[in-house]
């Protein structure tokens, strides 16, 4: 069996890619994808620990996370559409009306 550390390293790598994406990209779609990456990094951890301990709870949570991610994508896409409609752009840094 592959030890859990490798999975954790993978998850950490995926998560860092997500964080990097969120911090550097200004396109809303890229943003969304990066967030998905971070979510899935967490998913990997769930599954990995589930395998480690022989317990299905983690996998169950993984399934939940996927469902939530799917819902989130739906909302996220909706937000991006509205964003585009209002600002003619999907650049998140251009929409700054919701500040102080």
């Amino acid at each position: 069996m592959v030890p859990a550390q490798w999975y954790l390293l993978l998850a950490a790598a995926v998560f860092c890619i997500g964080v990097f994406g969120v911090l550097t990209r200004s396109n809303a779609l890229m943003f969304l994808m990066s967030v998905e990456l971070m979510l899935n990094a967490a998913n990997i951890n769930f599954v990995a620990f589930s395998l480690q301990w022989g317990n299905v709870t983690g996998q169950t949570f993984g399934l939940f996370t996927m469902a939530i991610a799917a819902a989130e994508v739906a909302i996220g896409i909706g937000i991006i559409l509205v964003l585009y409609r209002n600002f003619r752009d999907t650049d998140v840094t251009s929409a700054t009306t919701m500040r102080w």
Binding site: V19, V22, L23, S26, F31, V92, T93, A95, T96, T97, M98, R99, W100
Partner: protein
Amino acid sequence: MAAFDYAPVIVLLPFLSFLVAIGTAIFARGKNVLPKGGALPGIVAMAGALLLSIWMFVTVEAQGAYDQTLYTWASGPGEGTFTLTFGVLVDQLSAMMLVIVTLVSLLVHVFSLGYMNDEDETGLPRYYAGLGLFSASMLGFVVADNLLMAFMFFELVGLCSWLLIGFWFREPGPPSAAKKAFLVTRFGDYFFLIGVVAVFATFGTSQFSPIGGMEAFPVLAEEALTGSAEGINTFGFDAATWFNIVGLLVLGGVVGKSAQFPLHTWLPDAMEGPTPVSALIHAATMVAAGVFLVARMYGFYALIPTTLAIIAFIGGFTALFAATMGVVKREIKQVLAYSTISQYGYMMLALGGGGYVAATFHLMTHAFFKALLFLGAGSVIIAMHHNENMWDMGGLKERMPVTYYTFLSGSLALAGIFPFAGFWSKDEVLYETLVHGLGGSPLLLAAYAMGLLAVFFTGFYTFRMVLLTFHGEPRSETARNPHGVRWNVKGPLVVLGVLAATAGFANLVPVEKLTGANVDFLHDWLYHGPETLNGEHYSTLLHDVAGYTAADFSVLISAAVSLGMALAGVGLAWMLYNDPSPEEHTAKLGAVKDLWYHNYYQDEFQVWLAETGGLGIARGSDKFDQGVVDGVVNGVSSVSLFSGSRVKRVQTGVVSNYAALLTLGVVVLMVALGLYGGWFL
């Protein structure tokens, strides 16, 4: 005791007429539902009350006094509590006062038919409602059997004066005068209320005479001073000192309501009200209430000579002070107003001078002749189409003889000319003060001297008024063709005119001294009250506790001196003003006239006090409140507002910045946790 069961009805009848009139005023406004605009219920009620009062008077004579608790306003369940009740006390003093009040009030109601109804005034139901409530409050005050109840009705009397003085509310003057009357008397009542509270705190009761297990505070005070009282809290003072304080506090209300110096300023202004109301206020109700209160609790005042001396001094000073101002007034009602202040000064002088009977006697005669003078002035004012300036009158003698002769009767009484009512009572007032002053009290003698001097001024201003109004040649068109008055004006005048001439015969002390005939009826009457509420008891107290001693002095000399002073005043007036077209002799007084005409600048001073004192403090407080107190509150909130306005800059609206901050936060948190967990060490 069947007769006395109807005692509360005397109070309730006028109250009922108030309810009827006010009900009409509210629910049937503008519709002429009540005949005579509500006067009839009032007249019927007052007539009924008068009959009942006379019945009470007769019954008191036959059966003695009556004191009954009727209603427990607020009970106290046990130790250290007070039973606050309403009760009816009909003794010699209050029975007499009941008759006076109901009689004057009835005549005022009748007179109002001529003064208000015939002049087509609007708002008559409101007027008669006010009169009804006024009478009811005063009657309630008269029959009160404890100080708290007396205070309550005292205040209601104040309310009614406000309502009636300000009756013509559409003009600017009357509401202002009403406000002043209420405020000034309220200032006095402030002290009175402290006094009432102090009486409760000291004695635990405020009954005037012991009744059904409740003790009476004058009796307790007497016991405290003679050294056998228990459970009396004198707040760390010597009993006599404390009683003086309490007595002076209660006196505050008396000074306010009876318009004594320095709280007299409201009364001349109160002339803004309808003249019948002035008659009622001055003769029988509001102003009389103050003096009556002192007479009512004389058992308490008779114990404290210091307060008595102060009362006498205030009274004597006010008598003189007000009389001088009356000398120079131009309006007939103003002269009468100052004469009222002056006359009540005499009553105070008598009370302070140990002349309980004399004060009561003067209260009675004054009620008749002053009501008469005001109603007579009202008749003149009708005739003159509401012009009150005496310099526009003159020569009314021939044109309105009934008014003239009755007015003359009242004036002779006011001036204290033999044998009119005022002579007897004023003489007794001065005599009592004199003998007690000679008995060893220089302060009383000083008060007596002022009272005696005031007699001269009284004679002068009274006959100046009579001569200017009725004698000489008419000085204006209206005076040549005065408006006629009807029976409803003349009737009350005649009744009171007769009384003003004859009421003095109720107490012919000098005659008794001279002839030995037993003709001091009022004296006898008041000496036969309940055990602790009669004149004899009071004179014992005055002698034993207060240390008043009466010097032996001939009543004839005293009477002759005061009559001589009065005649001198009258004579001077006659010399100066009995002229077809008199001139303003008072102008010769120069600066003194200005001083008197402007009431010693008392009003200006009090207005200045109220405006710079009261309003000044108020405006200062408001600035302080807005600036400092609320400033601190807003300052505190502005700290958070300011910090918010700075910190909110973090919220840039750029999502990437938020993400960066989030990441940064997580990193910082992890590093911190790591440090805490010792990873990097």
